[in-house]
Amino acid sequence: GQQVMQIPQYQHVQEGEDFTTYCNSSTTLSNIQWYKQRPGGHPVFLIQLVKSGEVKKQKRLTFQFGEAKKNSSLHITATQTTDVGTYFCAGQKTSGSRLTFGEGTQLTVNP
């Protein structure tokens, strides 16, 4: 079955440092989504990438979808304590199919 892998599992950074999490799928994806879960909270949808090579930005967050549509990354510039949480990628193999979630990257930011 489809697998979505994320690395690293954990990342500790000092406030102001950059952070990147990577997502890799065993199969080509029709789209990839990113979710954020704050400590004690629930996953919340951040963004969706559909096109090969697509790059989207949300303030300090930059999301990329690989040319082969099998990998993606989330980069946070100059982390803040509000960025703390677990970031999940989730891939959809074809339109109409269910999402498969990665294991998540847990980010802690030291002030």
Binding site: H42, Q48, G96
Partner: protein, 115 residues
């Protein structure tokens, strides 16, 4: 819209007890999901439903049952609770069509402890 609501927020069960976790969505979504999340871990799919009257197993269905009698409600039943079922349970829903993406909306979760 309230979105996805779950009750209860917290629950402590004794080994062997049973309970039902409630989940309701008011977005008229066809797909609904139950996930469990162990501490520091990712989301594991327990069961999902593509519409009223239709349910299917996810990757960790053992020890759980579901039903979907209406579009809005998707309760999860735990029979004979075991300590291994201590976890946070999230319900989610999405409007998934043949040509659409599966953007999922999550409820706030139920934190269950089995002692």
């Amino acid at each position: 819209n309230a979105g996805v609501t779950q009750t209860p927020k917290f629950r402590i069960l004794k080994i062997g007890q049973s309970m039902t976790l409630q989940c309701t969505q008011d977005m008229n979504h066809n797909y609904m999901y139950w996930y469990r999340q162990d501490p520091g871990m990712g989301l594991k799919l327990i069961y999902y439903s593509v519409g009223a009257g239709i349910t299917d197993k996810g990757e960790v269905p053992n020890g759980y049952n579901v039903s979907r009698s209406t579009t809005e409600d998707f309760p999860l039943r735990l029979e004979l609770a075991a300590p291994s079922q201590t976890s946070v349970y999230f319900c989610a829903s999405s409007l998934l069509r043949v040509t659409s993406t599966d953007t999922q909306y999550f409820g706030p979760g139920t934190r269950l402890t089995v002692l």
